[in-house]
Structures are given as C-alpha cells and as structure tokens.
C-alpha cells in the first residue's frame, strides 16, 4: 500500500517534469531564434538552417549596440519611467482594491465597472485625442506625460487584481486588529497588506511590463531624442530602407533581461509559502 502511493507520486512527478520540459522548450525556441538572428552577420532575418548558432556567428551587433548607439541612455530612461509607473501602480491599486473589497459604499459597483470600461475602447482611437490633451497640458516631451498615461493603462487590471486577492483574506483579521486598538488604516497596512505579497508582485510585474515595452504612446509623446525609451530607440533600427535585424534582435534580448531579473527578485514572494491557513475564515 505504502509502496503503491510512493510509486504513484513518482509517476506524477515524472509526468509533471515531462509537461514542464515540453512547455519550456516551446517557450524558449522562438527566443533562441531571436538569439540566432542577433548572431548572424549582415542582417539576415531568414535562414534555411535550423542551427541556433550560425557557422559565421559574430558579436558585432552587441558591440555596435553599446558603443555605436545611445542604447544605455534609452535603457536609463526606460528604467526611470517603469520604476515610477510600477511604484504608482502598486500603491494606488493596493489602496483602491482594498476599498472595493472591504467596504459597501454608494457607487461601488459602478466604480468597479467603470474601471473595466476604460479598457474596452480600441487604444488606437484614443491616441489622437490623448495627444491633443497632452499638448494642452504642456506634457509633450516630458516623462510625466507618459508616466500618467501608462499608470492609467496599468491601474484597471491592478485594482481588480488586488480586489480579488483581498477577497480571499478573511475580514476577521482586521476586526481582531481593531479590537486590539489599531485604527482603520493601521489594521489595513500592518495586518492585511503583508498577506497580499503574491498579488503585489503580480501588480508590480504587470505595471512594469506595461511601461517597459510600450511603443506607440512613447513615440508620440517623447519627441526629443534624449528622452527616448528603449522601444522608441529600437524602432530606429528599422528606419530608412532596410532593417538592421541583427541590432534589433540583440537589443530585444537585452531589453528582456531586466524583466527576468525583476521576476527572479520578486518570485520568492510569489511562491512565498506564507501560510494563510490560520487566517481562513
């Protein structure tokens, strides 16, 4: 009987590994293709070879990127903008989500729906009026302009996400804290918020990605080359007659590195294993 259970566990583990390996291969194969393009000399996008590292591999694209182009400046701008958007997104969503989860107040359902409504409009059609508005407010060519737009794009998901996660935490926790003499805000900040770490991580990652990879708005708002973000800068490799595929691919790989680092840093909270068991109602 014991052995049987052990065998079953082993079999399940083996199946789990198999599925994970298959999906890991599917996930990285196209990215290896990008790597392959970045190593090819002479900007060839297509190749009949299935080899990942071409015979005539060269690191010229990477060298050009860091020495010949203002790649580090774009990187700095992108990091700055993404950092502000991420902090704003996390703080505002943590507050608003809590209100939507815990309080019955007039306009609650309408509010939740309106947040969703902001996502329903085709984004391309919002561009022109958005641009006119930023011009009137004098926010063209400022980081603040893109930061406001990115925050407003990221917040709807973030608020709903936080609201959903607060919903899984029992309100009896705050009641206990209030009885112990905490005020309303302290009960939220000291007792509930730490338990939402996994959701805060998701919200942070999402806000970061919203601003990190965005091109269309950034291209409209940031016209001064010194203010360009990575996606806008990368687009210049496509200018003129031909696309510099090698540069483009190399830059894309490097652009994804900060995201991976951020994920690695945050993922220990995502898999925190913080037992919420004791607080379940």
């Amino acid at each position: 009987m014991r052995n049987n259970a052990k065998f079953k566990k082993k079999l399940a583990d083996a199946a789990a590994y198999l599925v994970l390996i298959i999906f890991a291969v599917i996930a990285i194969y196209p990215i290896l293709q990008v790597l392959s393009i970045s190593l090819r000399p002479g900007d060839r996008l297509l190749s009949t070879s299935l080899a990942i590292i071409p015979d005539d591999a060269t690191l010229a694209a990477y060298k050009e990127l860091f020495t010949g182009r203002p790649f580090l400046l774009w990187m700095r701008n992108s990091i700055l903008i993404s950092f502000v958007v991420t902090s704003t997104g996390v703080v505002l969503a943590a507050l608003a989500g809590y209100a939507f989860s815990r309080f019955k107040f007039r306009g609650r359902n309408v509010g939740l729906l309106s947040i969703l409504v902001t996502q329903m409009f085709p984004a391309t059609m919002l561009l022109l009026p958005m641009y006119i508005m930023l011009v009137k407010l004098g926010l063209i060519n400022t980081f603040l302009g893109v930061i406001i737009i990115y925050s407003s794009t990221a917040l709807p998901f973030c608020i709903w996400m936080m609201k959903g996660y607060y919903d899984t935490i029992s309100p009896s926790l705050e009641e206990a804290a209030r009885i112990d003499g905490c005020n309303q805000f302290a009960a939220f900040y000291k007792v509930v918020l730490p338990l939402t770490a996994p959701a805060l991580v998701i919200v942070a990652l999402f806000s970061f990605m919203t601003s990190w990879a965005e091109y269309v708005v950034a291209a409209q708002v940031l016209q001064d080359t010194n203010l360009w973000t990575l996606p806008v800068g990368l687009q210049t490799f496509q200018a003129n007659m031909s696309t510099e595929w090698g540069l483009y691919a190399a830059a894309s790989l490097i652009v994804s590195i900060p995201v991976v680092i951020l994920f690695l840093m945050l993922s220990k909270f995502l898999i925190s294993g913080l037992t919420l068991g004791s607080v379940k109602g």
Partner: protein, 297 residues
C-alpha cells in the same frame, strides 16, 4: 464624527487612482463619440461636420469585403480560443510549478520568457518561423514528421491559425503568473483534510482549487477577454496588416485600417463605439454570471 470618517474612508482610498484613470480616459472618449457622428475623413479633415448616424449605418449595412459580421465572428473565435488556451495552459503550469519538485525556479524563469521579451521582435520571429520555404515550422513538419509543408501565411485559414498560435504563446505566461499568485492564497490544510477524506486529485481540483482560485482568476479572465478582443499588435505584425487580402482581420485591426490606411476617421470612430458596446454588454453579462463584483466573504 467617527461615523462620517468611516463613510469617507473607502472614497479616500479610491480617489488617487480614480483621478489618474478618468482624467486620461474621459476626454478622449468624448472626443471619439463626437467624431463617430461626423463625416471626418481625409477629404473632410478640417471642415468636418456632424452628420448623425450615417457612419453607424455604414458599419452594419455597407457592403464590404469582408463584411462586419464575418469579422465579428472571427473576432469571437479569436478571443474564445486564445483566452481558453491561455487560462488552461496557465493554470496547469502554475499547478505543476506549485508542486514540491526540484528545479522549479528554473522552469518558472524559462516559462515567463515569452512575456518578458518585446512583442514586436517575437511576432516577427514567429512570422519568419511560419515562412513557407525558410520557416522552421515547415522544416520540422517536412523533415521530421514527413508531412507536406503548410502554406501558413498565404491562405486565410492557415494564416489565422498561425496568428492564434503566436498569441497563445505570448499570453500563457501572464495567466500562469496570476494563477501562481492565486494558488498561494489556498492553504495546504484544505488539501490535507481532503486527503484524509480520501478525495481524488480531480475532486480536490474541482472542489478546492477552482473555487478558491476564482476571486483571483475571474478579474484576470474578464480583462484577458477584453484585451484579446482589442489586441491589434499580433494580428497586424504576423499577417503584415491583414494579409492575404484583408482576410485575417479582427475588428480592432479593421478599425486601424479604416482610420490609418483608408483615412475614414468618422467610420473608424463609429466602429470603435460599436466595439465598445459589444464589450460593455459582454462584461456586464459575464460579471453578473460570475458575480465578480461580490466579495468572497
């Protein structure tokens, strides 16, 4: 005094987020609403005027190839197939990663890569992979499976499948990360208790995992549907703007083509409003059926 503070508290929590969001969305929305009743196009760019419901009439009844209804149907298929795969693959991988197995941090990192890399370059890479002669997918099909090569991007159906495959690949890591976060809110005690009662793996999934994952997944799925419905990037890049012959459009890429390819701004604005109302009706129904606004406690 205290009673009044209590009532104000939730509004104070929401105020900062509301200011940022509605400031940015409200004005563009009104602007677009006005435009949808106008005759603005390349010809009437400066002296456009309000002409009533003409543009809406054109959206529904103007004979065009492909028609509004065909594109609408395609958009529905596109949305349902994509979101279903995103959620199923995402939740499955999250549950596997939540097991006590070795090397899961490596798998976790590899599996989020499709989300981490800029969409533009991978969409074009997938386009290359679907290429008839050079693409690695056809090379794999013919060399290792011995099957005939597929004309991925030249015929409408195959091109549509190719876009869907690309978008599924791009989207599953997001749902995986959310499901992974959601699983952390489920206490092990539930599973232990179920084990003592002799519950099967399926029963545990059905009666513990699904209901407790719901509060976190429902918002993600609702927004996932809205985003997929309005996702223009992938369609546009993989099929290079609706090729072959405008056969691979979904509604939102059709709006883009009407506005920036054919310069029919009024028409594009009206079509945008139609998309908006489709999604609004959907969301209201979906949220009511899933009771997404209700709290769990």
């Amino acid at each position: 005094m205290i009673e009044r503070n209590r009532k104000l508290f939730p509004y104070l929590l929401i105020l900062p987020a509301a200011l940022v969001m509605f400031g940015v969305v409200f004005y563009p929305f009104i602007y677009n609403l006005v435009l949808s009743f106008s005759n603005m196009s390349l010809r009437n760019f400066r002296e456009w005027q309000i002409i009533g419901f003409d543009q809406y009439y054109k959206v529904f009844f103007e004979p065009s190839e492909p028609s509004f209804y065909t594109i609408f149907l395609k958009t529905m298929i596109w949305t349902v197939v994509n979101v279903t795969f995103h959620v199923v693959i995402g939740v499955m991988l999250a549950m596997l990663l939540n097991r006590q197995i070795k090397g899961k941090s490596i798998f976790r990192t590899l599996l989020i890569l499709p989300w981490a890399i800029p969409q533009y370059i991978v969409a074009l890479t997938w386009r290359g992979m679907f290429n008839y002669e050079y693409g690695s997918i056809n090379l794999l099909i013919t060399k290792y499976l011995g099957l005939p090569a597929v004309e991925w991007l030249r015929s409408p159906t195959e091109a549509f499948i190719a876009v869907i495959i690309t978008n599924i690949w791009l989207g599953f890591p997001f749902m995986m990360v959310i499901a992974l976060g959601g699983l952390q809110s489920i206490s092990n005690e539930f599973y232990e208790a179920a084990d003592i009662d002799g519950a099967s793996a399926w029963q545990k999934f059905r009666n513990i995992t699904v209901p407790l994952l719901r509060p976190v997944m429902i918002p993600a799925i609702t927004l996932g549907i809205i985003w997929t419905f309005n996702n223009i990037n992938v369609v546009w890049l993989v099929t290079s703007g609706g090729e072959p012959a405008d056969q691979t459009h979904i509604l939102v890429s059709y709006v883009y083509r009407a506005a920036f390819g054919l310069y029919r701004y009024g028409y594009a604005a009206a079509l945008s409003m139609v998309i908006f109302f489709i999604l609004l009706i959907f969301s209201l129904t979906f949220m009511q059926r899933t009771q997404a606004t209700k709290s769990a406690y």
